[in-house]
Amino acid sequence: MAFSAIFEMAGSEARITLEGELDASVADQFRQTVEHAAQDKPQKLILFMDKLQFMASAGLRVLVFAKQRMGRDVAIYVIGATGPVLNTMQMSGFHQAVYLQESYP
């Protein structure tokens, strides 16, 4: 399934909805979306992942980039990550570094 990353600002929150399969061939698209979001200096980054079917380490690296680009005070929320994507985040320790929620707000 084709990958898409759709960004919108909601007040002080940057919201990005991810869909499809996030591998190394499309990770730069996600990175550019994060870069775009960072320019609005959000206080929170909300990533909706309920329609994300696959995430390789290239996607995890963009999460690291997002945190380092937006700053320590910007919390990252991951919403609705499905089983395998969630497992990948848990195996790599990312579940401790972001706020995982089933739904938002």
Binding site: S25, S57, Q68, N87, T88, S92
Partner: protein, 139 residues
Amino acid sequence: MIQHSLPASLTALSDIRRLVTQACQTAGLSEDATYRLALAVDEIATNIITHGYEEQGMTGDLVVSLDQTDQELIILLEDTGVAFDPRDRSLPTAEDLDKPLDDREIGGLGIFLALAGVDRFDYQRSDNVNRNLFAMNLA
């Protein structure tokens, strides 16, 4: 054994995952095992394409072979890029995986996820061909 030859390009990753997933479904692997194997093959294929070919200014193919025994589903990735045994890469430690994102180095996770996700991994190089083998136990 079924073989598929694809151009060593990142755009081939989705086709590689599709081949692996179909083989897993035919072999009756669980959804979890299917995902772990597809992720493992994807991560190593990404490394081969990026570091084994593109960064060297080389082009070539990736040959994906699918095989099944009574005990295992076996995926073999063959390439003619630079020699690289993924097991030689230093993997993130438990301490590294506990670090907050601010302090993380970008990288190093792909091979960790690949090797941790499969039941058996092997690498050999002969006749200038790299052979990465992934196997999942059948129930």
